[in-house]
């Protein structure tokens, strides 16, 4: 930096006397007032935006659901198709989430610890589900596993039906929720390092023993966080499942599909009730996520 450049910063002479002090105090107070006004303006705008876009609509659906009391809500929950949709959704989650968890941990190990060509490309491929429309996911699966798809003839010879049945729903769900466990596990794996694992190996532990006793306990909170995100996404998946399931009432209709079905049949109580059930599950997920982040932070602080 040149000398003249430094000279442009003029330092005002030290204030002397009461007058100067109070002037400086005034200026400080004015600046503080301005900062306060700024904070309040931003707060008003930001909270107003959140209230209009998020809070008011979500509150409204709870009000609409319960405005005629609990009896219609109870009937809506007890409806056979609602029950079937709910349990089907849980069944799909119970298959897709463990699959993605096992895959996610393995893939995270491979991406974080492995050395091979095309690692960057593999990482991109894992993230692909985040960039693909759910509808396109459904279409892609139909093109492979559907009746006219690549494996269609072979599958029907074996008597296996994937599209328009539960396995297709599981595939679609697993596809859209694929990246979460991988992405949440990689950073904790990096943080964990390899010292403890090396020590275990030196002491004679086998690869599997080291994995179960050292690696997995070390990364468990990252994995759990990923599992929570996977579950939330899996439970709510709509577009991809809508295409591969065929939306057969009481057979391949998951809870999100049931919401649409009720809504389009002008059964608003049925639609709102199912939506509220899903919303409550989503909020439980949020709560769990918050607890987990706090837990991880606490652990890091100690």
């Amino acid at each position: 930096m040149s000398n003249s450049g430094q000279n442009t910063v003029t330092i005002s002479p030290a204030p002397s006397g009461r007058l100067a002090q109070s002037a400086a105090g005034d200026a400080e107070r004015a600046a503080e007032r301005a900062a306060r006004a700024r904070r309040l303006t931003v707060r008003t705008i930001a909270l107003g935006y959140l209230a209009l876009l998020l809070l008011a609509p979500v509150a409204m659906i709870f009000y609409r659901t319960f405005e005629h009391g609990l009896a219609p809500v109870w009937d809506a929950i007890a409806a056979p198709n609602a029950q079937h949709a709910f349990w089907l959704s849980l069944e799909v989650v119970a298959i897709a989430v463990p699959l993605n968890t096992a895959f996610g941990i393995g893939m995270a190990l491979l991406l974080e610890r492995g050395h091979f060509r095309g690692k960057g490309l593999l990482g991109l491929l894992i993230d692909l589900p985040f960039a693909i429309s759910p509808v396109v996911v459904g279409l892609s699966l139909v093109l492979v596993y559907g009746k006219t798809g690549w494996f269609g003839d072979w599958l029907s010879e074996q008597g296996i039906q994937i599209i328009f049945s539960v396995p297709g729903i599981v595939l679609a769900t697993a596809f859209v929720s694929l990246p979460f466990v991988v992405r949440e596990t990689i950073p904790v794996l990096r943080e964990l390092g390899t010292d403890a694992e090396q020590a275990a190996e030196t002491l004679g532990a086998s690869g599997w023993q080291t994995f179960w006793r050292v690696t997995l306990p070390g990364i468990r909170w990252g994995v759990v966080y990923g599992v929570v995100l996977t579950t939330a996404r899996a439970l709510g998946e709509f577009g991809a499942v809508s295409i591969v399931s065929g939306r057969i009432e009481g057979q391949t209709q998951t809870l999100p599909l049931y919401v649409q079905d009720r809504f389009e049949n002008f059964d608003s109580t049925g639609a709102y009730t199912a939506a509220v059930v899903l919303a409550l599950l989503a909020m439980a997920t949020l709560l769990l996520m918050n607890l987990l982040t706090r837990r991880t932070r606490g652990r890091m602080a100690t």
Partner: protein, 262 residues
């Protein structure tokens, strides 16, 4: 030896899973979209209805990400620099659109802004509804990418600039925004990819009217229902390419800018 993805068996299983789930389906999509040659592909994506749907998707997404950039940054700023009661609740509420199933997002918006609106605002079956639904589902991206950066941002730089007489507008323009720009851009990129392919939150509230409120993903859905899979695949490839190109360009820009700031 640190734990490695155990042996050939583990790698094989990972490979089979990824191939069966992602690789083959995406390959089948590309194959189907080009099954009739370039001219068929071109015809599929240049049909008036497809063009209208793609155009609406891209324009709505572009508007939505700009709004997201502004409000997302404001919300992040409030969450980091402001203190008030209930801030923790607001902070955890931000992630709700990620946790909420997309179809529920649509129902939720319709409950307040649909035909039974208690406040008399009915945007159902209009293009405004497309924007509102997309804003809802993409809300967290910019907030969550700007928040940690703002948290790490050194206050002393701003204070120094202010004490040297810089106006708050100048501080914002010269110090705060340049430091936040990479995070804002990466949030925008994620919002864009999400919005371009969004489906669930739109099906109920937009009414899916061709040439009016029908977005790309809804058009693809219609083509699948009509059993014209090549056309569906062709438009899918266009949407996917748009998402990937924007993600690539913006993440490059974000990385460049952050290097520049450092």
């Amino acid at each position: 030896m640190p734990v490695r993805p155990t042996g050939a068996l583990g790698k094989g299983l990972l490979g089979i899973y990824l191939t069966a789930l992602v690789l083959l389906p995406v390959a089948a999509l590309l194959a189907k979209s080009s099954s009739g040659g370039t001219s068929a592909f071109w015809r599929a994506i240049s049909s008036p209805e497809a063009v209208a749907a793609i155009k609406l998707t891209l324009i709505a997404t572009a508007i939505v990400v700009v709004v997201n950039a502004v409000f997302g940054t404001l919300i992040a700023w409030m969450l980091v620099r402001d203190e008030f009661r209930g801030k923790g609740v607001v902070n955890s509420m931000i992630d709700l659109p990620f946790a909420l199933p997309t179809i529920v997002a649509g129902v939720v918006l319709l409950a307040l802004y649909g035909k039974d609106s208690p406040v008399g605002v009915n945007v159902a079956f209009t293009r405004v509804a497309v924007g509102v639904a997309l804003l809802f589902v993409t809300l967290p991206f910019v907030v969550r990418s700007v928040q940690p950066v703002l948290h790490e941002l050194d206050l002393s730089m701003e204070e120094a600039a202010a004490s040297l007489g810089a106006r708050s507008g100048t501080v914002l323009r010269r110090i705060v925004l340049p430091s936040l720009a990479p995070a804002i851009i990466s949030g925008v990129a994620l919002s864009f990819a999400r919005a371009v392919g969004e489906f669930g939150s739109l099906v109920l509230i937009t009414g899916n009217l061709p040439f009016k409120t029908e977005v790309g993903s809804v058009y693809i859905f219609g083509q699948i229902e009509n059993d014209s899979l090549p056309a569906a695949a062709a438009v899918s490839v266009v949407l996917l390419a748009a998402a990937l190109v924007v993600l690539g360009v913006l993440s490059l820009a974000s990385r460049r800018l952050s290097r520049h700031v450092q």
